[in-house]
């Protein structure tokens, strides 16, 4: 946390809770390495069409890290990801996110 400084024990617990639950991209390199079991955060890891073979049956176009899923999957993928309702409820949910690889954290929060 940069804007809130945890002072007592409970505040530190809240801080660590958020630190652990941050989003980790599959292809994130460098340190610190993602901790704990790394479960792919893709469009579907149970049926895994995109994790093992790509849409053409090969391995050249496997699913990309989560930040790319946001755009690639719901627009181009044959197995589309769930995204907010772009036409009625949240047309500008990615309005402030011009380059997803860098600024996907700016994507707005959507509530029902």
């Amino acid at each position: 946390m940069r804007h809130l400084k945890p002072v007592n024990r409970k505040a530190r617990q809240i801080e660590s809770m958020h630190a652990e639950k941050d989003v980790v991209a599959l292809q994130q390199g460098g340190s610190p390495a993602p901790s704990g079991p790394h479960i792919p955060l893709g469009c579907s890891f149970v049926f895994a069409p995109g994790w093992e073979v790509d849409s053409s049956g090969g391995t050249a176009g496997l699913c990309q890290p989560v930040e790319r899923d946001l755009f690639d999957c719901h627009i181009t993928c044959f197995w589309p990801a769930h995204v907010p309702d772009l036409y009625n409820h949240a047309p500008d949910w990615t309005g402030s996110c011009a380059a997803a690889q860098k600024d996907w954290r700016k994507i707005d929060l959507i509530f029902p």
Partner: protein, 471 residues
């Protein structure tokens, strides 16, 4: 468009810096300029994230505002209006809380006749004549067995002796503690003993036993001669100050373990600072704790509203002194502030005001088990007996009915993580029911909690090592 709203918190300043105490998590965060600005800009309205970023644009970049909002949402200092709020449910603890403290009322008799006493005065809830006046050795042994049985895996259990005047039943104290130590050794546990006394019967023999067994001692005492002799009198009306002072001095001289004094404040005795000076500085008590008398509001010794203001002012003065001493690395014995600081440091958010009926229970002279020592012997507040164990269904029912979620009056109070409605016995005396929150204390509790939060913030910033004692 996401509408944002302030969460529940108490904002306070300490040493010039802004802080929030979050409710119900009881987390304390220090704010920076951006987070302060976001909370100020939200005010009491629902504001869209975009317009929030817009209104703060001259001072902070929109990305900065978003990042701050993200952190504040994570800490629940603010919330999205549309996000569902999970209600707190009144339910008993999901797993059984082991007993860590058992209070044995070894006698209901007392050699003093303090006029404000809740055990004998007009507000008493137990008719003493219906129970044996002294606990016998067999019941004390059964209590020890009960304590270890209910303590689960707790490595240390606390055995506290209470009364009446505890030392009137010295014989049973000795045998009970000897038996508890024997059982503790056999079970691979530790037992820590303590007692409360009026100090009239502290003789060489009793002090020897206290020192030898490292028994923690709290002396009930109200201050200097004039203060002590106002209410703490023998049956003939004679004051007890001159009788107890030589005993107290001898105990303090010989005992290795710090000895505390516990003062009952009344409408007639509110010179908190004077009492503190006398007991801590002149007599030499390691700690002095103050509690307002528990009584119906109409009694002569009850503290009225202006009395609470006077008490608060002096508590604040002593708290400032405590802070000054702690920053300079010196001990200060005002235990009220110390106890609250510990709870703030740990971030306790209570479902129930105290451990009564949870990790603490009181045993009456005949072995009946009740919520705490103040209810020991009351049939209406009985949870079982040391012979037959705790009625866990009854205990669960009690805990459900007294859960903070059932105290509607407390639902909007920011101090509820620490107060949770206050003492059951106080509520019973004031309002006739343990389920009532102590509404006559609300303003006082909030003001006192705010004072302690300010002390805490300064200590955390300037002397964090001081707070390690609470880990």
């Amino acid at each position: 468009m996401t509408l944002l709203r302030r969460g529940e918190y108490h904002a306070f300043e300490s040493d010039g810096a802004p802080y929030v105490y979050l409710v119900p998590s009881a987390a304390v965060f220090r704010l920076d300029d951006a987070s302060c600005a976001v909370l100020d800009a939200l005010g009491d309205d629902d504001v869209a994230l975009d317009s929030l970023a817009g209104s703060l644009a001259p001072r902070f970049a929109p990305a900065e505002v978003r990042a701050t909002v993200h952190e504040l949402l994570g800490a629940r200092a603010i919330r999205a209006v549309a996000a569902p709020v999970e209600p707190v449910r009144a339910e008993p603890p999901r797993r059984r809380i082991p007993l860590t403290t058992l209070v044995l009322n070894v006698t209901s008799k007392c050699n003093l006749s303090c006029t404000y006493c809740y055990e004998y005065g007009e507000d008493r809830i137990v008719e003493a004549s219906r129970k044996p006046r002294f606990m016998n050795e067999e019941t004390a042994r059964q209590s020890v067995d009960f304590m270890f049985a209910e303590a689960g895996e707790s490595p240390v259990v606390h055995l506290t002796f209470f009364g009446g005047e505890t030392l009137l039943n010295f014989k049973v104290l000795k045998s009970a503690l000897a038996y508890a130590k024997e059982r503790a050794t056999a079970l691979g546990r530790q037992v820590d003993a303590s007692l409360t006394t009026n100090a009239t019967l502290l003789r060489e023999e009793t002090i020897d036993w206290i020192v030898e067994n490292d028994v923690g001692v709290t002396v009930s005492m109200d201050g200097a001669r004039e203060q002590q002799d106002r209410f703490r009198v023998f049956a003939n009306g004679q004051g007890s100050y001159d009788v107890i002072i030589p005993n107290v001095r001898e105990l303090l001289r010989r005992h290795r373990r710090p000895v505390g004094a516990r003062v009952t404040l009344t409408g007639q005795n509110l010179d908190v600072i004077g009492i503190y000076r006398h007991l801590a500085e002149e007599i030499g008590f390691w700690e002095v704790g103050f509690a307002p008398v528990t009584t119906s509001w109409q009694r002569e010794h009850a503290i009225q509203e202006e009395g609470f203001d006077r008490m608060l002012g002096q508590f604040r003065e002593l708290a400032a002194e405590y802070l000054e001493h702690s920053l300079a690395g010196r001990h200060h014995g005002f235990s009220n502030v110390r106890d609250t600081l510990e709870e703030i440091h740990k971030g306790l958010s209570k479902s129930h005001p105290c451990g009564a009926g949870l990790g603490l229970m009181g045993v009456a002279t005949d072995g009946d088990v009740a919520l705490c020592h103040r209810f020991a012997g009351s049939d209406a507040h009985r949870l079982g007996s040391v012979q037959d164990g705790v009625d866990h269904a009854k205990q669960a029912d009690f805990l459900t009915r007294h859960h903070i979620a059932n105290k509607t009056d407390c639902a909007t109070c920011w101090a509820r993580p620490l107060c949770a409605g206050g003492c059951y016995h106080e509520a019973h005396t004031r309002y006739g029911s343990t389920t009532e929150p102590n509404l006559h204390y609300c303003e006082w509790i909030r003001a006192w909690t705010d004072t302690c939060l300010r002390v805490y913030g300064t200590l955390a910033e300037r002397k964090p090592e001081f707070l390690r004692q609470f880990e």
